[in-house]
Symmetry: C2
Subunit: 294 residues, 2 copies
Protein backbone atom coordinates (compact mmCIF):
# COMPACT_ATOMS: atom_id res chain seq x y z
CA UNK A 1 0.00 0.00 0.00
CA UNK A 2 1.32 3.48 -0.88
CA UNK A 3 2.25 5.92 1.88
CA UNK A 4 -0.44 8.34 0.68
CA UNK A 5 -3.20 5.72 0.95
CA UNK A 6 -1.90 4.42 4.28
CA UNK A 7 -1.91 7.96 5.66
CA UNK A 8 -5.44 8.52 4.35
CA UNK A 9 -6.68 5.33 6.00
CA UNK A 10 -4.89 6.08 9.29
CA UNK A 11 -6.49 9.53 9.32
CA UNK A 12 -10.02 8.46 8.44
CA UNK A 13 -10.65 4.91 9.62
CA UNK A 14 -10.95 5.84 13.33
CA UNK A 15 -13.36 8.68 12.50
CA UNK A 16 -15.49 6.41 10.33
CA UNK A 17 -15.72 3.74 13.02
CA UNK A 18 -16.48 6.28 15.73
CA UNK A 19 -19.34 7.70 13.65
CA UNK A 20 -20.64 4.22 12.82
CA UNK A 21 -20.75 2.99 16.41
CA UNK A 22 -22.06 6.30 17.69
CA UNK A 23 -25.03 6.25 15.29
CA UNK A 24 -26.05 2.83 16.61
CA UNK A 25 -25.29 3.46 20.28
CA UNK A 26 -27.51 6.53 20.40
CA UNK A 27 -30.72 4.75 19.32
CA UNK A 28 -33.17 3.64 22.02
CA UNK A 29 -33.56 -0.04 21.25
CA UNK A 30 -33.70 -3.27 23.29
CA UNK A 31 -30.20 -3.96 24.61
CA UNK A 32 -29.83 -7.39 23.00
CA UNK A 33 -30.69 -5.91 19.61
CA UNK A 34 -28.16 -3.07 19.85
CA UNK A 35 -25.58 -5.58 21.07
CA UNK A 36 -26.19 -7.84 18.08
CA UNK A 37 -26.02 -4.92 15.62
CA UNK A 38 -22.78 -3.62 17.17
CA UNK A 39 -21.23 -7.09 17.30
CA UNK A 40 -21.22 -7.37 13.53
CA UNK A 41 -20.36 -3.72 12.93
CA UNK A 42 -17.35 -4.07 15.27
CA UNK A 43 -16.21 -7.38 13.77
CA UNK A 44 -13.84 -5.39 11.60
CA UNK A 45 -13.47 -5.37 7.86
CA UNK A 46 -11.58 -3.01 5.63
CA UNK A 47 -14.29 -0.31 5.60
CA UNK A 48 -13.61 0.12 1.89
CA UNK A 49 -17.07 1.56 1.20
CA UNK A 50 -17.01 4.41 3.73
CA UNK A 51 -13.36 5.09 2.86
CA UNK A 52 -14.46 5.57 -0.76
CA UNK A 53 -17.14 8.09 0.26
CA UNK A 54 -14.51 10.10 2.14
CA UNK A 55 -11.86 9.70 -0.59
CA UNK A 56 -14.21 11.08 -3.25
CA UNK A 57 -15.14 14.01 -0.98
CA UNK A 58 -11.40 14.61 -0.45
CA UNK A 59 -10.95 14.85 -4.21
CA UNK A 60 -13.25 17.87 -4.14
CA UNK A 61 -11.65 19.27 -0.96
CA UNK A 62 -14.97 18.63 0.74
CA UNK A 63 -14.14 18.13 4.41
CA UNK A 64 -17.68 17.95 5.75
CA UNK A 65 -18.49 15.51 8.57
CA UNK A 66 -21.42 14.26 6.49
CA UNK A 67 -19.09 12.09 4.40
CA UNK A 68 -18.48 9.99 7.51
CA UNK A 69 -22.22 9.70 8.13
CA UNK A 70 -22.99 8.60 4.57
CA UNK A 71 -20.07 6.17 4.86
CA UNK A 72 -21.55 4.78 8.07
CA UNK A 73 -24.93 4.32 6.35
CA UNK A 74 -23.40 2.29 3.54
CA UNK A 75 -21.35 0.21 6.00
CA UNK A 76 -24.63 -0.61 7.82
CA UNK A 77 -26.08 -1.90 4.53
CA UNK A 78 -22.93 -3.92 3.83
CA UNK A 79 -22.96 -5.38 7.35
CA UNK A 80 -26.66 -6.31 7.27
CA UNK A 81 -26.06 -8.11 3.96
CA UNK A 82 -23.23 -10.13 5.53
CA UNK A 83 -25.35 -11.07 8.57
CA UNK A 84 -28.18 -12.32 6.34
CA UNK A 85 -25.76 -14.01 3.86
CA UNK A 86 -24.16 -15.97 6.69
CA UNK A 87 -27.50 -17.42 7.92
CA UNK A 88 -27.89 -21.22 7.78
CA UNK A 89 -30.56 -20.89 5.06
CA UNK A 90 -28.18 -18.84 2.92
CA UNK A 91 -24.39 -19.47 2.88
CA UNK A 92 -24.41 -21.13 6.32
CA UNK A 93 -21.11 -19.62 7.46
CA UNK A 94 -20.04 -20.04 11.07
CA UNK A 95 -17.01 -17.80 10.86
CA UNK A 96 -16.46 -14.35 9.36
CA UNK A 97 -13.27 -12.30 9.74
CA UNK A 98 -11.97 -14.91 12.16
CA UNK A 99 -14.95 -14.56 14.53
CA UNK A 100 -18.17 -16.54 15.00
CA UNK A 101 -20.92 -15.12 12.79
CA UNK A 102 -23.85 -13.17 14.24
CA UNK A 103 -26.37 -16.03 14.34
CA UNK A 104 -23.82 -18.33 16.02
CA UNK A 105 -23.56 -15.83 18.88
CA UNK A 106 -27.10 -14.38 19.03
CA UNK A 107 -29.27 -17.03 17.37
CA UNK A 108 -30.94 -16.91 13.97
CA UNK A 109 -33.98 -14.87 14.99
CA UNK A 110 -31.97 -12.03 16.49
CA UNK A 111 -29.45 -12.12 13.62
CA UNK A 112 -32.28 -11.75 11.10
CA UNK A 113 -33.74 -8.84 13.08
CA UNK A 114 -30.35 -7.14 13.62
CA UNK A 115 -29.87 -7.24 9.84
CA UNK A 116 -33.34 -5.80 9.30
CA UNK A 117 -32.69 -3.04 11.82
CA UNK A 118 -29.37 -2.06 10.19
CA UNK A 119 -30.99 -1.96 6.76
CA UNK A 120 -33.75 0.31 8.08
CA UNK A 121 -31.42 2.50 10.14
CA UNK A 122 -29.24 3.36 7.15
CA UNK A 123 -32.14 5.22 5.51
CA UNK A 124 -32.95 7.09 8.72
CA UNK A 125 -29.31 8.12 9.03
CA UNK A 126 -29.41 9.64 5.54
CA UNK A 127 -32.73 11.39 6.30
CA UNK A 128 -31.18 12.93 9.44
CA UNK A 129 -27.98 14.19 7.77
CA UNK A 130 -27.16 17.68 8.99
CA UNK A 131 -26.09 20.52 6.69
CA UNK A 132 -27.29 18.67 3.60
CA UNK A 133 -30.22 20.11 1.67
CA UNK A 134 -33.38 17.97 1.53
CA UNK A 135 -33.21 17.49 -2.24
CA UNK A 136 -29.73 15.98 -1.92
CA UNK A 137 -30.82 13.70 0.92
CA UNK A 138 -33.71 12.45 -1.20
CA UNK A 139 -31.28 11.75 -4.05
CA UNK A 140 -28.92 9.81 -1.75
CA UNK A 141 -31.81 7.80 -0.26
CA UNK A 142 -33.16 6.97 -3.71
CA UNK A 143 -29.68 5.93 -4.90
CA UNK A 144 -29.10 3.75 -1.82
CA UNK A 145 -32.50 2.09 -2.09
CA UNK A 146 -31.87 1.17 -5.74
CA UNK A 147 -28.24 0.10 -5.11
CA UNK A 148 -29.06 -2.10 -2.13
CA UNK A 149 -32.48 -3.49 -3.11
CA UNK A 150 -34.06 -5.82 -5.66
CA UNK A 151 -32.47 -3.93 -8.56
CA UNK A 152 -29.02 -4.00 -6.93
CA UNK A 153 -27.42 -5.93 -4.08
CA UNK A 154 -30.40 -8.12 -3.08
CA UNK A 155 -31.14 -8.87 -6.74
CA UNK A 156 -27.49 -9.86 -7.26
CA UNK A 157 -27.69 -12.17 -4.28
CA UNK A 158 -30.72 -13.87 -5.84
CA UNK A 159 -28.90 -14.25 -9.19
CA UNK A 160 -25.94 -15.71 -7.30
CA UNK A 161 -28.16 -18.31 -5.59
CA UNK A 162 -29.97 -19.08 -8.88
CA UNK A 163 -26.57 -19.65 -10.51
CA UNK A 164 -25.18 -21.94 -7.83
CA UNK A 165 -26.04 -25.17 -9.53
CA UNK A 166 -25.17 -24.33 -13.11
CA UNK A 167 -22.20 -22.90 -14.96
CA UNK A 168 -22.65 -19.19 -15.65
CA UNK A 169 -21.07 -17.59 -18.72
CA UNK A 170 -18.91 -14.48 -18.36
CA UNK A 171 -21.70 -12.00 -18.98
CA UNK A 172 -24.00 -13.73 -16.47
CA UNK A 173 -21.18 -13.78 -13.91
CA UNK A 174 -20.57 -10.06 -14.48
CA UNK A 175 -24.28 -9.35 -14.01
CA UNK A 176 -24.19 -11.13 -10.63
CA UNK A 177 -21.24 -9.07 -9.44
CA UNK A 178 -22.32 -5.73 -10.91
CA UNK A 179 -25.42 -6.12 -8.75
CA UNK A 180 -24.25 -8.08 -5.72
CA UNK A 181 -21.14 -6.10 -4.83
CA UNK A 182 -20.76 -3.46 -7.55
CA UNK A 183 -23.94 -1.48 -6.91
CA UNK A 184 -23.07 -0.64 -3.32
CA UNK A 185 -19.46 0.20 -4.18
CA UNK A 186 -20.77 2.46 -6.91
CA UNK A 187 -23.12 4.12 -4.42
CA UNK A 188 -20.15 4.78 -2.12
CA UNK A 189 -18.30 6.56 -4.89
CA UNK A 190 -21.27 8.40 -6.42
CA UNK A 191 -22.59 9.54 -3.05
CA UNK A 192 -19.28 11.31 -2.47
CA UNK A 193 -19.80 13.05 -5.81
CA UNK A 194 -23.35 14.09 -4.85
CA UNK A 195 -22.21 15.43 -1.46
CA UNK A 196 -19.45 17.41 -3.22
CA UNK A 197 -21.57 18.90 -6.04
CA UNK A 198 -19.49 17.21 -8.74
CA UNK A 199 -20.27 18.16 -12.34
CA UNK A 200 -22.07 15.65 -14.55
CA UNK A 201 -18.81 14.87 -16.37
CA UNK A 202 -16.97 14.25 -13.10
CA UNK A 203 -19.79 12.09 -11.79
CA UNK A 204 -19.91 10.02 -14.99
CA UNK A 205 -16.15 9.48 -14.84
CA UNK A 206 -16.41 8.41 -11.19
CA UNK A 207 -19.26 6.02 -12.02
CA UNK A 208 -17.08 4.47 -14.73
CA UNK A 209 -14.18 4.18 -12.25
CA UNK A 210 -16.60 2.58 -9.74
CA UNK A 211 -17.82 0.05 -12.32
CA UNK A 212 -14.30 -1.22 -13.02
CA UNK A 213 -13.23 -1.10 -9.38
CA UNK A 214 -16.27 -3.19 -8.47
CA UNK A 215 -15.45 -5.89 -10.98
CA UNK A 216 -11.73 -5.80 -10.11
CA UNK A 217 -12.61 -6.22 -6.45
CA UNK A 218 -14.67 -9.33 -7.18
CA UNK A 219 -12.10 -10.89 -9.52
CA UNK A 220 -9.40 -10.43 -6.86
CA UNK A 221 -11.80 -12.01 -4.33
CA UNK A 222 -12.15 -15.05 -6.59
CA UNK A 223 -8.38 -15.23 -7.14
CA UNK A 224 -7.67 -14.98 -3.40
CA UNK A 225 -10.01 -17.88 -2.75
CA UNK A 226 -7.56 -19.98 -4.78
CA UNK A 227 -4.13 -18.49 -4.02
CA UNK A 228 -4.81 -17.16 -0.49
CA UNK A 229 -4.68 -19.02 2.83
CA UNK A 230 -7.57 -19.24 5.29
CA UNK A 231 -5.39 -17.47 7.85
CA UNK A 232 -4.78 -14.46 5.60
CA UNK A 233 -8.41 -14.28 4.49
CA UNK A 234 -10.02 -14.76 7.93
CA UNK A 235 -12.42 -17.19 6.22
CA UNK A 236 -12.20 -20.63 4.66
CA UNK A 237 -10.08 -20.53 1.48
CA UNK A 238 -10.83 -22.85 -1.44
CA UNK A 239 -14.57 -22.83 -0.73
CA UNK A 240 -15.49 -21.73 -4.26
CA UNK A 241 -13.64 -24.60 -5.94
CA UNK A 242 -15.05 -27.11 -3.48
CA UNK A 243 -18.63 -25.92 -4.13
CA UNK A 244 -18.08 -25.74 -7.94
CA UNK A 245 -19.03 -22.08 -7.86
CA UNK A 246 -18.87 -20.02 -11.05
CA UNK A 247 -15.87 -17.73 -10.61
CA UNK A 248 -13.54 -15.77 -12.88
CA UNK A 249 -10.65 -18.27 -12.50
CA UNK A 250 -13.06 -21.17 -13.16
CA UNK A 251 -14.26 -19.51 -16.36
CA UNK A 252 -11.02 -17.90 -17.56
CA UNK A 253 -8.23 -19.87 -15.81
CA UNK A 254 -6.15 -18.16 -13.12
CA UNK A 255 -4.00 -16.48 -15.79
CA UNK A 256 -7.05 -15.22 -17.64
CA UNK A 257 -8.59 -13.90 -14.43
CA UNK A 258 -5.38 -12.01 -13.64
CA UNK A 259 -5.41 -10.48 -17.12
CA UNK A 260 -9.05 -9.44 -16.66
CA UNK A 261 -8.13 -7.91 -13.31
CA UNK A 262 -5.36 -5.84 -14.93
CA UNK A 263 -7.76 -4.76 -17.67
CA UNK A 264 -10.32 -3.42 -15.21
CA UNK A 265 -7.57 -1.71 -13.21
CA UNK A 266 -6.38 0.09 -16.35
CA UNK A 267 -9.91 1.11 -17.31
CA UNK A 268 -10.54 2.44 -13.79
CA UNK A 269 -7.37 4.55 -14.01
CA UNK A 270 -8.31 5.79 -17.50
CA UNK A 271 -11.69 6.92 -16.19
CA UNK A 272 -9.93 9.00 -13.51
CA UNK A 273 -7.88 10.77 -16.21
CA UNK A 274 -11.11 12.49 -17.34
CA UNK A 275 -11.26 14.40 -14.06
CA UNK A 276 -9.10 17.53 -13.89
CA UNK A 277 -8.15 17.13 -10.27
CA UNK A 278 -5.51 15.26 -8.29
CA UNK A 279 -6.91 11.73 -8.49
CA UNK A 280 -3.76 10.03 -7.17
CA UNK A 281 -5.48 8.81 -3.98
CA UNK A 282 -8.26 7.11 -5.97
CA UNK A 283 -5.64 5.57 -8.26
CA UNK A 284 -3.79 4.21 -5.24
CA UNK A 285 -7.08 2.86 -3.94
CA UNK A 286 -7.60 1.00 -7.23
CA UNK A 287 -4.07 -0.40 -7.07
CA UNK A 288 -4.61 -1.54 -3.49
CA UNK A 289 -7.79 -3.40 -4.49
CA UNK A 290 -6.03 -5.40 -7.20
CA UNK A 291 -2.95 -6.12 -5.07
CA UNK A 292 -4.61 -6.91 -1.72
CA UNK A 293 -4.01 -10.28 -0.08
CA UNK A 294 -7.13 -10.36 2.09
Amino acid sequence: MSKQLQQFIDDNLPKIEEELYDLVERIKAPETLTESMLYSLKAGGKRIRPLFVVAVCDLFHNKQHEALTVGAAVEMIHTYSLIHDDLPSMDNDDMRRGKPTNHVVFGEALATLAGDALNTLSFGVLARLENVEPLKKVELINMLSIASGAEGMVGGQVLDIDGENRRLNLSELEEVHINKTGAILRFSIESGAVLSDATKEERDALAEYAHHIGLAFQIQDDILDIVGTSEELGKTAGKDVESHKSTYPALLTLEGANAKLEEHFSLAVSALAKIRKDTSLLEEFARYIVKRTN
Copy 2:
Protein backbone atom coordinates in the same frame (compact mmCIF):
# COMPACT_ATOMS: atom_id res chain seq x y z
CA MET B 1 -69.16 -2.39 9.39
CA SER B 2 -70.91 0.93 8.71
CA LYS B 3 -72.05 1.80 5.19
CA GLN B 4 -69.71 4.80 5.16
CA LEU B 5 -66.64 2.71 5.98
CA GLN B 6 -67.68 -0.07 3.58
CA GLN B 7 -68.06 2.51 0.79
CA PHE B 8 -64.67 4.01 1.65
CA ILE B 9 -63.00 0.60 1.52
CA ASP B 10 -64.78 -0.38 -1.72
CA ASP B 11 -63.62 2.88 -3.30
CA ASN B 12 -60.02 2.76 -2.13
CA LEU B 13 -58.91 -0.84 -1.67
CA PRO B 14 -58.64 -1.58 -5.42
CA LYS B 15 -56.62 1.61 -5.98
CA ILE B 16 -54.27 0.78 -3.09
CA GLU B 17 -53.65 -2.73 -4.37
CA GLU B 18 -53.13 -1.54 -7.93
CA GLU B 19 -50.53 0.99 -6.76
CA LEU B 20 -48.84 -1.60 -4.52
CA TYR B 21 -48.47 -4.24 -7.24
CA ASP B 22 -47.55 -1.67 -9.87
CA LEU B 23 -44.67 -0.31 -7.76
CA VAL B 24 -43.19 -3.81 -7.49
CA GLU B 25 -43.92 -4.93 -11.07
CA ARG B 26 -42.10 -1.97 -12.55
CA ILE B 27 -38.72 -2.68 -10.90
CA LYS B 28 -36.08 -4.53 -12.92
CA ALA B 29 -35.24 -7.45 -10.64
CA PRO B 30 -34.65 -11.18 -11.09
CA GLU B 31 -37.99 -12.82 -11.90
CA THR B 32 -38.00 -15.23 -8.95
CA LEU B 33 -37.42 -12.33 -6.55
CA THR B 34 -40.26 -10.22 -7.93
CA GLU B 35 -42.48 -13.31 -7.87
CA SER B 36 -41.69 -13.96 -4.22
CA MET B 37 -42.29 -10.30 -3.26
CA LEU B 38 -45.61 -10.21 -5.12
CA TYR B 39 -46.73 -13.56 -3.69
CA SER B 40 -46.82 -12.18 -0.17
CA LEU B 41 -48.13 -8.77 -1.19
CA LYS B 42 -51.00 -10.46 -3.06
CA ALA B 43 -51.77 -12.92 -0.25
CA GLY B 44 -54.45 -10.49 0.90
CA GLY B 45 -54.93 -8.90 4.27
CA LYS B 46 -57.15 -6.07 5.31
CA ARG B 47 -54.79 -3.30 4.10
CA ILE B 48 -55.61 -1.41 7.28
CA ARG B 49 -52.38 0.60 7.19
CA PRO B 50 -52.72 2.05 3.67
CA LEU B 51 -56.45 2.58 4.27
CA PHE B 52 -55.52 4.72 7.29
CA VAL B 53 -53.15 6.85 5.21
CA VAL B 54 -55.95 7.51 2.72
CA ALA B 55 -58.61 8.01 5.42
CA VAL B 56 -56.52 10.68 7.15
CA CYS B 57 -55.89 12.42 3.81
CA ASP B 58 -59.66 12.28 3.17
CA LEU B 59 -60.24 14.06 6.47
CA PHE B 60 -58.33 17.03 5.03
CA HIS B 61 -59.99 16.69 1.60
CA ASN B 62 -56.57 15.78 0.26
CA LYS B 63 -57.24 13.64 -2.81
CA GLN B 64 -53.66 13.35 -4.04
CA HIS B 65 -52.48 10.06 -5.55
CA GLU B 66 -49.47 10.19 -3.20
CA ALA B 67 -51.59 8.88 -0.31
CA LEU B 68 -51.82 5.58 -2.19
CA THR B 69 -48.07 5.52 -2.73
CA VAL B 70 -47.28 6.17 0.94
CA GLY B 71 -49.86 3.51 1.81
CA ALA B 72 -48.13 1.07 -0.52
CA ALA B 73 -44.76 1.82 1.14
CA VAL B 74 -46.13 1.04 4.59
CA GLU B 75 -47.82 -2.14 3.32
CA MET B 76 -44.42 -3.25 1.95
CA ILE B 77 -42.92 -2.81 5.43
CA HIS B 78 -45.81 -4.70 7.03
CA THR B 79 -45.50 -7.52 4.49
CA TYR B 80 -41.72 -7.86 4.86
CA SER B 81 -42.17 -8.11 8.63
CA LEU B 82 -44.70 -10.93 8.17
CA ILE B 83 -42.39 -12.83 5.78
CA HIS B 84 -39.49 -12.63 8.25
CA ASP B 85 -41.74 -13.37 11.28
CA ASP B 86 -43.01 -16.55 9.63
CA LEU B 87 -39.48 -17.95 9.05
CA PRO B 88 -38.64 -21.23 10.82
CA SER B 89 -36.11 -19.44 13.05
CA MET B 90 -38.79 -16.97 14.16
CA ASP B 91 -42.48 -18.00 14.55
CA ASN B 92 -42.16 -20.97 12.18
CA ASP B 93 -45.57 -20.50 10.60
CA ASP B 94 -46.47 -22.59 7.54
CA MET B 95 -49.78 -20.86 6.85
CA ARG B 96 -50.78 -17.20 6.71
CA ARG B 97 -54.18 -15.92 5.59
CA GLY B 98 -55.08 -19.45 4.57
CA LYS B 99 -52.11 -19.81 2.19
CA PRO B 100 -48.65 -21.39 2.53
CA THR B 101 -46.16 -18.83 3.85
CA ASN B 102 -43.46 -17.35 1.62
CA HIS B 103 -40.61 -19.64 2.70
CA VAL B 104 -42.81 -22.73 2.24
CA VAL B 105 -43.29 -21.76 -1.42
CA PHE B 106 -39.96 -20.09 -2.27
CA GLY B 107 -37.52 -21.47 0.31
CA GLU B 108 -35.98 -19.69 3.28
CA ALA B 109 -33.18 -17.93 1.40
CA LEU B 110 -35.49 -16.28 -1.13
CA ALA B 111 -38.06 -15.45 1.57
CA THR B 112 -35.36 -13.67 3.60
CA LEU B 113 -34.22 -11.75 0.51
CA ALA B 114 -37.78 -10.88 -0.61
CA GLY B 115 -38.34 -9.40 2.85
CA ASP B 116 -35.10 -7.44 2.62
CA ALA B 117 -36.01 -6.15 -0.82
CA LEU B 118 -39.48 -4.98 0.31
CA ASN B 119 -37.97 -3.21 3.31
CA THR B 120 -35.48 -1.41 1.06
CA LEU B 121 -37.99 -0.64 -1.67
CA SER B 122 -40.35 1.16 0.70
CA PHE B 123 -37.75 3.89 1.30
CA GLY B 124 -37.08 4.26 -2.42
CA VAL B 125 -40.82 4.59 -3.04
CA LEU B 126 -41.01 7.48 -0.56
CA ALA B 127 -37.91 9.12 -2.08
CA ARG B 128 -39.53 8.95 -5.55
CA LEU B 129 -42.92 10.39 -4.50
CA GLU B 130 -44.14 12.89 -7.09
CA ASN B 131 -45.62 16.28 -6.21
CA VAL B 132 -44.28 16.12 -2.65
CA GLU B 133 -41.61 18.60 -1.63
CA PRO B 134 -38.21 17.14 -0.67
CA LEU B 135 -38.42 18.33 2.96
CA LYS B 136 -41.68 16.41 3.41
CA LYS B 137 -40.23 13.29 1.80
CA VAL B 138 -37.27 13.44 4.18
CA GLU B 139 -39.68 13.75 7.12
CA LEU B 140 -41.71 10.73 5.94
CA ILE B 141 -38.56 8.65 5.40
CA ASN B 142 -37.22 9.56 8.83
CA MET B 143 -40.57 8.72 10.45
CA LEU B 144 -40.79 5.38 8.62
CA SER B 145 -37.22 4.43 9.50
CA ILE B 146 -37.85 5.10 13.19
CA ALA B 147 -41.29 3.43 13.19
CA SER B 148 -40.12 0.27 11.45
CA GLY B 149 -36.59 -0.10 12.83
CA ALA B 150 -34.80 -0.90 16.08
CA GLU B 151 -36.72 1.84 17.94
CA GLY B 152 -40.07 0.65 16.60
CA MET B 153 -41.33 -2.50 14.89
CA VAL B 154 -38.09 -4.52 14.86
CA GLY B 155 -37.36 -3.52 18.46
CA GLY B 156 -40.87 -4.64 19.46
CA GLN B 157 -40.31 -7.96 17.76
CA VAL B 158 -37.12 -8.43 19.83
CA LEU B 159 -38.98 -7.54 23.04
CA ASP B 160 -41.67 -10.04 22.06
CA ILE B 161 -39.09 -12.82 21.59
CA ASP B 162 -37.31 -11.87 24.84
CA GLY B 163 -40.66 -12.10 26.64
CA GLU B 164 -41.66 -15.49 25.26
CA ASN B 165 -40.48 -17.54 28.16
CA ARG B 166 -41.55 -15.35 31.05
CA ARG B 167 -44.72 -13.63 32.17
CA LEU B 168 -44.77 -9.94 31.18
CA ASN B 169 -46.61 -7.38 33.29
CA LEU B 170 -49.13 -5.03 31.68
CA SER B 171 -46.67 -2.19 31.10
CA GLU B 172 -44.12 -4.55 29.52
CA LEU B 173 -46.84 -6.04 27.32
CA GLU B 174 -47.92 -2.56 26.23
CA GLU B 175 -44.33 -1.67 25.39
CA VAL B 176 -44.08 -4.72 23.13
CA HIS B 177 -47.24 -3.76 21.24
CA ILE B 178 -46.62 -0.01 21.09
CA ASN B 179 -43.42 -0.91 19.23
CA LYS B 180 -44.26 -4.12 17.39
CA THR B 181 -47.58 -3.12 15.82
CA GLY B 182 -48.35 0.37 17.14
CA ALA B 183 -45.41 2.25 15.62
CA ILE B 184 -46.29 1.34 12.03
CA LEU B 185 -49.99 2.03 12.55
CA ARG B 186 -49.06 5.39 14.00
CA PHE B 187 -46.86 6.08 10.98
CA SER B 188 -49.82 5.30 8.70
CA ILE B 189 -51.95 7.86 10.48
CA GLU B 190 -49.27 10.53 10.98
CA SER B 191 -48.00 10.26 7.41
CA GLY B 192 -51.49 11.19 6.21
CA ALA B 193 -51.29 14.25 8.46
CA VAL B 194 -47.86 15.20 7.04
CA LEU B 195 -49.07 14.80 3.44
CA SER B 196 -52.09 16.97 4.25
CA ASP B 197 -50.27 19.78 6.08
CA ALA B 198 -52.20 19.19 9.31
CA THR B 199 -51.63 21.69 12.11
CA LYS B 200 -49.59 20.64 15.14
CA GLU B 201 -52.79 20.30 17.21
CA GLU B 202 -54.45 18.12 14.58
CA ARG B 203 -51.35 16.00 14.27
CA ASP B 204 -51.06 15.53 18.03
CA ALA B 205 -54.73 14.50 18.23
CA LEU B 206 -54.23 12.01 15.40
CA ALA B 207 -51.12 10.60 17.12
CA GLU B 208 -53.20 10.10 20.28
CA TYR B 209 -55.94 8.42 18.25
CA ALA B 210 -53.29 6.21 16.61
CA HIS B 211 -51.84 5.21 19.98
CA HIS B 212 -55.19 3.93 21.27
CA ILE B 213 -56.17 2.34 17.96
CA GLY B 214 -52.86 0.46 17.96
CA LEU B 215 -53.41 -0.98 21.42
CA ALA B 216 -57.08 -1.74 20.71
CA PHE B 217 -56.06 -3.58 17.57
CA GLN B 218 -53.65 -5.78 19.50
CA ILE B 219 -56.08 -6.48 22.35
CA GLN B 220 -58.73 -7.56 19.83
CA ASP B 221 -56.08 -9.76 18.17
CA ASP B 222 -55.42 -11.45 21.51
CA ILE B 223 -59.15 -11.86 22.19
CA LEU B 224 -59.78 -13.33 18.73
CA ASP B 225 -57.07 -15.91 19.33
CA ILE B 226 -59.31 -17.22 22.13
CA VAL B 227 -62.87 -16.66 20.90
CA GLY B 228 -62.28 -16.89 17.12
CA THR B 229 -62.06 -20.00 14.94
CA SER B 230 -59.09 -20.88 12.74
CA GLU B 231 -61.38 -20.68 9.72
CA GLU B 232 -62.44 -17.10 10.49
CA LEU B 233 -58.90 -16.03 11.29
CA GLY B 234 -57.13 -17.72 8.36
CA LYS B 235 -54.49 -18.84 10.87
CA THR B 236 -54.35 -21.29 13.77
CA ALA B 237 -56.56 -20.09 16.65
CA GLY B 238 -55.60 -20.81 20.25
CA LYS B 239 -51.90 -20.64 19.50
CA ASP B 240 -51.20 -18.02 22.20
CA VAL B 241 -52.73 -20.09 24.98
CA GLU B 242 -50.95 -23.22 23.81
CA SER B 243 -47.57 -21.43 23.81
CA HIS B 244 -48.24 -19.69 27.18
CA LYS B 245 -47.75 -16.35 25.49
CA SER B 246 -48.26 -13.14 27.48
CA THR B 247 -51.52 -11.66 26.19
CA TYR B 248 -54.15 -9.23 27.45
CA PRO B 249 -56.68 -11.98 28.28
CA ALA B 250 -53.95 -13.98 30.05
CA LEU B 251 -53.07 -10.96 32.18
CA LEU B 252 -56.52 -9.42 32.66
CA THR B 253 -58.99 -12.28 32.00
CA LEU B 254 -61.19 -12.17 28.90
CA GLU B 255 -63.61 -9.80 30.63
CA GLY B 256 -60.79 -7.48 31.69
CA ALA B 257 -59.33 -7.50 28.17
CA ASN B 258 -62.73 -6.56 26.73
CA ALA B 259 -63.00 -3.67 29.21
CA LYS B 260 -59.50 -2.48 28.23
CA LEU B 261 -60.50 -2.67 24.57
CA GLU B 262 -63.55 -0.46 25.23
CA GLU B 263 -61.38 1.97 27.18
CA HIS B 264 -58.92 2.42 24.29
CA PHE B 265 -61.82 2.75 21.83
CA SER B 266 -63.31 5.58 23.93
CA LEU B 267 -59.97 7.33 24.24
CA ALA B 268 -59.41 7.07 20.48
CA VAL B 269 -62.82 8.66 19.84
CA SER B 270 -62.15 11.40 22.43
CA ALA B 271 -58.89 12.27 20.67
CA LEU B 272 -60.81 12.74 17.42
CA ALA B 273 -63.11 15.23 19.13
CA LYS B 274 -60.16 17.64 19.31
CA ILE B 275 -60.16 17.96 15.52
CA ARG B 276 -62.67 20.42 14.07
CA LYS B 277 -63.47 18.36 11.01
CA ASP B 278 -65.80 15.51 10.09
CA THR B 279 -63.99 12.63 11.77
CA SER B 280 -66.87 10.15 11.41
CA LEU B 281 -64.91 7.89 9.02
CA LEU B 282 -62.01 7.58 11.48
CA GLU B 283 -64.49 6.87 14.28
CA GLU B 284 -66.07 4.11 12.20
CA PHE B 285 -62.60 2.76 11.53
CA ALA B 286 -61.95 2.58 15.27
CA ARG B 287 -65.28 0.83 15.82
CA TYR B 288 -64.49 -1.67 13.07
CA ILE B 289 -61.15 -2.50 14.70
CA VAL B 290 -62.70 -3.35 18.06
CA LYS B 291 -65.63 -5.29 16.54
CA ARG B 292 -63.78 -7.22 13.81
CA THR B 293 -63.92 -11.01 13.82
CA ASN B 294 -60.74 -11.63 11.81
